[in-house]
Symmetry: C2
Subunit: 377 residues, 2 copies
């Protein structure tokens, strides 16, 4: 996706790099309507009610603006990208996505989201790429959908909105899905969700279950579980992209390594076994970080220091965190221009195979155009 | 506590500063015996069983060594301090301390711990200071005990081992205790505990409920609750010392401020109200960090950068993390000698009033010597 042939935000032709934002949220309007119905008619998880109940029922302009933007993949979104200087978004189904739905609805809404994102990519190939959603609880259909959405529609990874009804991706039931993702050569984007019902109480009662703190507690735990369960030893080709500068793990690498080694030595837990690497090393071999929601130079510089500058890339977290000034601040990151180019452009191109896309399919009709399914419509 | 008059670890006379370690754990043998009895005879919290069940029943030499050292306030401990170059320990009752006991036992064991620590301070005034334990659930007796242990015995702060049966220090029931602590001019040391029963499951099943991750999740949440509840606005004199380099909060300061401001603006939560400062600012006005369990230059340097070098001091986390080489590594921190002196000595002296102690009571009989109580013996 070199500058010069395809479009971008105004001024892109003269900038030394394109700005690619990789944790950018989308939700089909039908899914938001389904959430509204569930919130009204069904017992739902505490965190889901706290998060989506807020966004979908608040009359405050702030959440209403988020919801309007979530469902748009056209003029509004591109205008916002133009206004903030974002050339390209990697789209993904917003949290909790399919992960609060029953098996049949999860499958149908995953397909709907993947179709919609594909339509947007085709309509605006220089401005959008996308990740695939699946219904995690039915591994065979999830694998089929990965074949379709990644293999045939050209989506560039798998979105996982943290826990699936209290279960985590280290659970053996998800192994075939993660193996398939690795086989397809695309990463898993591990995105936050609210904590499960049996972990959320001390956060919820204090109003801290959302992005202010609970998301990080949930998602940091999830990433660490993936590491300490040995998942990356079992699937060496598995790559995980994680937002919010690693959901806190970079700060803790020394302590995690120290305490993990102690637990392994003492045999304290059945679940804690020797790994092929120190836990911290997986952040340097299998994990990439993005700056979604963390446009803060001290933390970005620290994360680059401890996991490697070549593993930290830009994300905005649109439309949840949509602050144009942040892009300008990040343009002033005190790194050599070549590193800022990596940060904004080339790491994302590598991790999400965006250059391949340009060569093979960008703007061109797919060789085999599937009919968009419509179970969920 | 200037070098030259009182003793320290071998070589202290010629070193440019004393090394004071401020999160150093102690447990009366009687309390450990009581824990063993509870683990055998009573339904106990999941985290308590995971943590103390491990330490008190494992046959592995690693936890056995910890338990032996926890209960010692004499030759073993001083030999360990000498071997690792620690001149002075600020002692505190180990987690979960009194916070898993019923009200009567909590009160009795707090007094016992405070008496024992006082005895050690009197026997080795240059080597030990101590913090006071209380039974939090009975505020009047906790206040009496603070008057006794801080006001008369000369202990230098209050130890709080995170949640009290699932409740947090922002709960109004604890306000009188915290006001008393502030009135006495001493800090609260907020120390980790395992997560409450209704938050621990995703950690416990993965073997991540302990120091490797769960401690931070619990204690970081606790500190943030104290901030966002407005506790520091309500008690401006309250000072909190928190270990493990701030339990993750320093890494998140930008995001916490951003999301907190959004929540306040949108009125999302009843519990989230305007504060007199941004949340991050309380870390620069009311909170001090220690390096317990985090002897890692990149994180220490980052924490100093974002909260101020004058707020980050040394702690070892003895006997849980007892690694002599760490002291030598920290001697090589790339800061000016005056800042290393602050890090190892003078910040602790200021925060815990250790210089006052030397002037007034160190090595001298207290003006009013109380009889040591013995309800718990």
């Amino acid at each position: 996706m070199s500058a010069g042939r395809e479009g971008g935000a105004p001024g892109w032709e003269t900038r030394p790099y394109r700005r690619i934002a990789v944790e950018e949220a989308y939700a089909p309007r039908e899914l938001l309507d389904e959430y509204v119905r569930m919130l009204r008619d069904e017992p739902v998880e505490i965190g889901f009610r706290s998060l989506m109940g807020y966004f979908l029922t608040s009359t405050h302009p702030q959440p209403r603006s988020v919801v309007d933007r979530l469902a748009d993949l056209g003029e509004q979104r591109i205008a916002d990208m133009d206004a903030t200087g974002i050339d390209h978004q990697v789209l993904s189904l917003t949290s909790p996505g399919t992960q609060v739905l029953d098996v049949a609805r999860a499958r149908a809404f995953a397909e709907l989201a993947n179709d919609r994102i594909t339509e947007a990519v085709r309509a605006h190939p220089t401005r959008f790429s996308g990740l695939a959603a699946v219904g995690f609880e039915d591994a065979p259909s999830a694998i089929d959908e990965l074949d379709r959405a990644v293999g045939r529609l050209g989506l560039r990874g798998l979105i996982a909105n943290s826990h699936i009804k209290g279960t985590y991706l280290d659970d053996p039931r998800y192994l075939p899905i993660l193996e398939k993702t690795a086989d397809l050569g695309v990463p898993v984007y591990l995105h936050p969700q609210t904590l499960p019902d049996d972990a959320i109480r001390p956060y919820r009662e204090a109003g801290l279950d959302g992005a202010v703190w609970g998301f990080a507690a949930e998602t940091g735990l999830h990433l660490l579980r993936m590491i300490t369960s040995g998942l990356f030893d079992r699937i060496p080709g598995l790559r995980v992209v994680v937002g919010h500068l690693g959901e806190g793990l970079p700060y803790w690498l020394h302590r995690i390594d120290h305490m993990h080694a102690k637990q392994v030595a003492a045999g304290r837990y059945e679940a804690i076994k020797p790994l092929q690497q120190r836990p911290s090393e997986y952040l340097r071999t299998h994990v990439f970080l993005t700056t979604s929601g963390m446009p803060w130079e001290p933390a970005i510089t620290f994360a680059r220091q401890v996991v490697g500058a070549e593993r930290v890339m830009y994300a905005m977290d649109y439309p949840y965190q949509f602050v144009g000034a942040e892009v300008e601040q990040l343009e002033c990151l005190p790194y050599p221009e070549e590193e800022r180019r990596a940060f904004f452009q080339t790491i994302a191109e590598d991790v999400f195979s965006l250059r391949d896309r340009e060569d093979e399919t960008f703007g061109a009709p797919l060789s085999e155009e599937p009919e968009l399914r419509d179970e969920a419509r």
